[in-house]
């Protein structure tokens, strides 16, 4: 940090009156007041005498928040080198309903501060947290004992790379494997050869013996030669990220997958809202080449132009994606356009307080959604015209942008299960033809009708007025409109239309029974359905984690997407939007830099991930019979809660090195405290390293803890979040000097960070794609800027090959502002000569233009086109999801459903969750000031002194009174898998899950509500010993309660929480507890 000056330089009004030689306020003084102020304010004004420093662009650096994953664009105000205030970026639609034009001069935009939520503003206190770690810590006691010593960065890298008896001083005689030991091979050809043949083995094209013979010399590179599909031993390095974001995750994937060659790269999405994403990504999947390719994972109602929106299990005023963007769209639409909205949630959120609150019962989301669907069918309130369009041509003819598979026929097997679509070939309406090109190199397959009509795919089939018609979804010439509700046999094959299958599932229960399961009055359901379907296309359902962090989360997501599809709101202004999109930062062959493909010696990791995500059990060599030893997750990714338990179970294989990056599964995952026990096992986790900004709840168990940069101090680039119809991409850049120590990595000075560690490991092991010649065409990868600045250059260059889409050059005045605004940054962070060299002279001024605005933002005038979104999805939406309908649960052996199917909360075994004797559903939620675990350091807003100083166990008085509970009573929470309501932190520390009762009418009876953000046992809440000196914890951080430790464990795995077998989401909302007064 630079030494602040004005802190030491006290100038009160009295002082400056003295300075000016005047002892009182006299008329004579008034004349030169301007001058007096100008002089005394020099420390305030970075330039421009007489102006408040915040009004000067030289005091401003535009960056990006990461207090939550919305990643709002921000305007950082720097006073004498210190970030003192953070506002919204006025160029960005994130912070202004109508942002300033992109070419607004910097001195004008300096005067306009955009909006920003309180959590974002409190980033100042995340940045300047007294508990931020500065140097590398190595444990000297047992794991989690919190006894550390500081070691030099180089020594730490040397030890983790080379391994050895690293903890002899701590009494451990074991030899710890280093990265060099886990790196079985860095030969890309060997890996691709093994990968291809392992696929041949699992695909039945090669016998295992043949494989072993062919690769006899390489078998020792594999984790298990009997199971070549597990991949090479490089996979025994696991990178597990809590907080990571686009840009940085590209960098980390480059290292993990393609420089080190491990398949085990993860972020944390399943403890957020993954089943929401999986719901969308399959609803938007497109069919081509005989396969389904998943589509966008996030769409949202265009609230500002909507007439009725249902916010389901989410509160846009407090969380979602996120309050800064979404709040004004709601409030403005409500007050100025008459928007009405409902909020489905057992908890009355702040959003619900201002709308129509529908207090659903915990776990009642899917029944409520299916009840609405049933009502819509029974009352024929679905959009027939939209749903009848079976392909693109029909959509165009109907005046739509998108179309659906509602009319496509699905085959029923002999048990009546709808698994796969009916194709033209099933009815012998087409014949497959392979044509080999003249040079014999390529084979083109087509399907041809007897009339000579040629299809590029084996066409799907719909009925039109009862007769089969062939469907190519992408065909924009030959319109097919199909019959909607079909249940028949065609040529002896039992079929139903997709829409009929949805109707079947919605009809599985009577309206009364659905209402009972939902815990919502039938009359309310009817009113809600009626209202929702009374606004044409100007309505929508928005949902987030509350609706989907259930074991039936994917089906719930699918049902809620279906509610949007049924009213045909896709792509309409006021309907469902996929957002404005952005520019490409990673690059491709047509851009100045190709940060993905340009990777000489790219290893291309392969193999089954330790979480078994993305792989189908039946297609692996591990398949014998049901159940699998632990569940496979073929449809999802980043199954965060399962990484450590899987490694602990050593299934499908043991892990040697775990790198936990900015993550805290022990605190943030349901029943995550179980993982704390596992991490203390040095046999199962021989080397455990972490990088973090503080010593946190899980990183405190690491062997080596590296300081990381905050999002205030570093780089990334993130595309626009979906609520924004305006095309944009944001850039995160260093706003302050770094807190972590500046070290030399192979001669390059840089602060310690995730990137610095990766570069240092890469250089120590001479890994491909890092260091000198790290890029084939673009030079070296010696420092973070070599990667990130080139991404910025790609953004500045635009997406047109001829640079027709490039931004302007920064003029001389802007260049000067750029330099002055960064005068406080050390050379290890900002070095203009280096930066110019990285992107090249020709792009440099364009890069500065983008950095001076914190990203690239299109004109809002390009958001809509007539009655439609200007950036429409304009593709197929799926009611029936074939990849899932044709899949089989790896534990139960039962098929999944292609349409939303109601099942109650259940264990991985298919056995319903046991909440017997536990009366209260736990509803966790986020306050607007908090994120899950990283805002306790924000004393303005949390941390015992802030606006929300602590949390409570919130309960309705009708539940509290019979238990004799009153405000302030301390209760313990217990559950069927944590009947003692405790958790063991190891080393003799057993804690109780307890909190203070507070009664509230905002809780649905039968539930207790506990916010996240509190109940910390580390993160500055606990004493630690470093170099023999005790660093005292701050009691303000050791407040409140976290209910995660009592959320239910899955009875199948016994080590992981309840999990959605399709979406992979960790269940936060299927657990019930008892309250025990202490």
């Amino acid at each position: 940090m630079t030494e602040p000056t004005s802190k030491k330089q006290e100038i009160s009004r009295r002082d400056f009156l003295k300075i000016s030689g005047v002892t009182g306020a006299t008329a004579a003084l008034l004349g030169n007041m301007h001058e007096v102020f100008a002089k005394t304010q020099n420390t305030l004004a970075a330039s421009g005498e007489g102006s408040y420093f915040q009004a000067s662009p030289e005091s401003i650096i535009y960056g990006e928040c990461l207090q939550c994953n919305t990643q709002c664009t921000v305007k950082g105000k720097i006073q004498d080198g210190v970030l003192v205030k953070v506002d919204g970026n006025p160029y960005s639609p994130n912070n202004m309903m109508t942002p300033l034009a992109y070419d607004t001069p910097l001195k004008e935009s300096a005067l306009v501060d955009g909006k920003l939520c309180p959590k974002g503003q409190a980033m100042v206190q995340t940045q300047y947290d007294p508990y931020r770690i500065v140097k590398v810590l190595k444990r000297t006691g047992k794991r989690g004992e919190n006894k550390w010593q500081v070691i030099p960065f180089d020594q730490a890298i040397n030890e983790i790379v080379n391994g050895g008896k690293l903890f002899a001083d701590a009494g451990e005689d074991r030899v710890v494997p280093g990265f060099k030991d886990v790196l079985a091979t860095k030969d890309a050809k060997v890996i691709s050869g093994l990968s291809a043949d392992a696929a041949a083995v699992t695909g039945g094209k090669m016998k295992l013996d043949e494989f072993k013979t062919k690769h006899a010399a390489e078998l020792d590179l594999l984790i298990d030669p009997e199971h070549p599909d597990l991949g090479v031993r490089n996979n025994q390095f696991v990178f597990q990220a809590g907080r990571i974001e686009p840009g940085r995750n590209n960098f980390a994937q480059r290292f993990t997958l393609n420089s080190f060659g491990s398949k085990n790269w993860y972020d944390h999405t399943t403890i957020c809202e993954q089943s929401h994403h999986i719901g969308y990504t399959y609803a938007t999947a497109q069919y081509s080449g005989g396969k389904w390719a998943t589509g966008p994972n996030h769409m949202k109602p265009d609230t500002i132009n909507s007439e009725f929106v249902i916010f389901w299990g989410t509160s846009p005023f407090e969380a979602n994606f996120g309050p800064t963007i979404m709040s004004e769209a709601v409030t403005k639409a409500v007050v100025e356009h008459g928007l009405k909205y409902a909020v489905v949630d057992p908890r009355m959120s702040k959003t619900a307080a201002k709308g129509w609150w529908v207090p659903v019962q915990q776990g009642g989301d899917l029944p409520l959604a299916l009840a609405l669907i049933r009502w819509i069918f029974e009352n024929q309130r679905y959009d027939t015209k939209f749903l009848s369009s079976a392909n693109k041509a029909a959509a165009l003819a109907a005046g739509e942008k998108s179309w659906t598979n509602a009319t496509w026929l699905v085959k029923l097997d002999d048990k009546g299960h709808a698994g796969t679509f009916l194709h033209g070939s099933d009815l012998k309406l087409v014949e497959k033809k392979d044509e080999t090109s003249a040079d014999g190199k390529t084979v083109t397959t087509t399907w041809v009708t007897p009339d000579g009509v040629v299809f590029k795919i084996d066409p799907f089939v719909a009925l039109t007025a009862g007769s089969p018609v062939l469907v190519d979804p992408a065909d924009d010439k030959n319109s097919v409109t199909g019959d909607l509700l079909v249940k028949t046999a065609v040529q002896g094959i039992n079929v139903e239309s997709s829409l009929q299958l949805l109707l079947d599932e919605a009809s599985a229960q009577s309206m009364e029974d659905w209402a009972k399961l939902a815990g919502v009055d039938l009359s309310t359901i009817t009113r809600l359905a009626d209202e929702y379907t009374s606004h044409g296309k100007k309505a929508g359902v928005e949902f987030y984690r509350g609706a989907v962090q259930h074991t039936n989360g994917y089906y719930t997501a699918q049902a809620l997407v279906a509610l949007n599809i049924l009213i045909g709101n896709i792509d309409w202004k006021g309907g469902l939007s996929k957002g404005g999109g952005g520019w490409n930062a990673i690059g491709n062959a047509d851009k100045p830099f190709d940060l993905g493909a340009d990777h000489p010696g790219k290893l291309g990791a392969f193999g089954i991930k330790v979480t078994r995500e993305g792989d189908t059990y039946q297609k692996t060599t591990l398949f014998t019979d049901y159940p699998a030893k632990r569940p496979f997750y073929p449809y999802t990714s980043n199954v965060y809660q399962e990484i450590i338990p899987a490694a602990y179970a050593q299934y499908p294989y043991p892990v040697k090195i775990l790198w936990l990056h900015m993550g805290t599964p022990g605190l943030a995952a349901p029943a995550g405290t179980e993982q704390i026990k596992m991490l203390q096992d040095t046999d199962k986790f021989p080397l455990f390293i972490a990088d973090d900004i503080v010593i946190a709840e899980t990183s405190m168990y690491a062997d080596y803890l590296f300081p990381d940069l905050t999002f205030v101090e570093r780089w990334a680039f993130t595309s626009a979040p979906p609520p924004e119809p305006i095309k944009n991409i944001r850039v995160r850049q260093p706003m302050t000097a770094p807190v972590p120590e500046i070290v030399k990595v192979d001669g390059e000075e840089m602060p310690i960070s995730m990137e610095a560690i990766m570069i240092a490991i890469g250089k120590a092991l001479n890994l491909p794609g890092i260091g000198k010649g790290g890029f084939d065409k673009h030079g070296d990868l010696n420092r973070p800027e070599d990667y990130y600045l080139r991404g910025v250059a790609n953004i500045a260059f635009g997406d047109k090959k001829d640079a027709a889409d490039a931004v302007k050059d920064a003029d001389d005045a802007e260049m000067e502002i750029f330099r002055k605004a960064r005068a406080h940054l050390p050379k290890a962070v900002f070095d203009e000569q280096k930066w110019v060299a990285i992107v090249g002279e020709s792009l440099w001024r364009k890069v500065v233009y983008v950095l001076n605005r914190g990203g690239r933002f299109d004109s809002p005038a390009n958001s809509y086109s007539g009655a439609f979104q200007a950036h429409p999805f304009a593709s197929l939406m799926n009611i029936f999801v074939e990849p899932i309908g044709s899949g089989i649960n790896s534990i139960t052996g039962k098929p999944f459903s292609g349409v939303p199917h109601y099942e109650p909360a259940q264990n991985s075994t298919g056995v319903p969750v046991n909440n017997k004797d536990y009366p209260f559903s736990v509803v966790t939620y986020k306050e607007v000031v908090g994120c899950q675990t990283r805002t306790i350091s924000n004393y303005w807003t949390q941390g015992g002194t802030g606006i929300v100083p602590t949390n409570h166990v919130l309960i309705n008085p009708v539940d509290a009174k019979p238990l004799g509970l009153k405000d302030g009573d301390v209760v313990k929470l217990t559950s069927s898998t944590n009947p003692n309501g405790t958790f063991d932190l190891g080393n003799g520390h057993v804690e109780t899950v307890k909190g203070q009762v507070k009664m509230t009418q905002t809780a649905r009876p039968g539930s207790v509500m506990v916010s996240f953000h509190f109940g910390h046992w580390a993160y500055g809440a606990r004493d630690v010993v470093i170099n023999g000196q005790t660093v005292k914890g701050d009691p303000r951080r050791n407040v409140g309660v976290c209910s995660n430790p009592v959320l239910l464990l899955d009875e199948g795995t016994k080590t992981t929480c309840l999990t959605d077998p399709i979406g992979g989401s960790a269940s936060f909302y299927d657990s019930k507890v008892k309250l025990v007064k202490l």
Binding site: G50, S51, K85, A101, E108, V334, K354, V929
Partner: protein
Amino acid sequence: MTKEASLLDKYASEAFAGLVSPVLDDLNISLAPDDDLTKEDALVRMTAELKRALEKPASERRWVMVIDLRKCVGCTSCTVACIAENKLPPGVVYRPVTIEEIGTYPNVSMKFLPRPCFQCDNPPCTEVCPVTATYKNEEGIVVIDYDKCIGCRSCLNACPYGARTFDYGMTYTQATPDGFDFILGQSKADDYELMANSEYGENRVRKGHVSPVGNARKCHFCLHRIKDGMLPACTSTCIGRATYFGDANDSTSMVAELINKPNAIRLKEELGTEPRVYYIV
């Protein structure tokens, strides 16, 4: 008002008038292209109106704040923006937001009420000050002369709206660890709260018992921002776009439009305090 106060008042407003940033002279916020959907952002409009108001003599401006309670989402962005802007310590809050639960399940709701200083035209707080440290300046803002304030807290009791708090000299980072080279530590962490703050266009550092420590403190509509053409921090940051600010004497201003409606009310009107903060209900 005493002669001295009136003089100081004059000095303050003249000083601010003279301090209009040179940047403002050629302020010409370029608007995004306007079509049916992309109207001028409220912040842009109000910033332009602010510039216009600053071109007038101070005595001809009438600063008012309007808070549309229908749009308030109870987020406390304004509270935090104010704390950061004015480097307020624990216990000093210029703009709290009261959150009140009303009703009985299932007929339940919440009321959100942001409460800045109402800059009353008949302020009960100023007349109780024994040393005339607090007074209404020419632009109608109730200000505090920290150097004169003796910290008696009479004004805290006199304000019917509870808009004043007292600076006990605390910091948010106090009692956090310090003196280690392996963690950041308090003395390197606390710059953001101890650096000079800009209230009243001054350059004060809170330290020991030096003012404003030991003084009454209150909202001043961010006079130091206004003088440079910037809206008050609470107004800029409002994520529900519920807060508006401007010159009510400018009949074309947004605030003038808003306050002359039947749904505009003022708190405790019956006290005759004539607040300059209006709520839209």
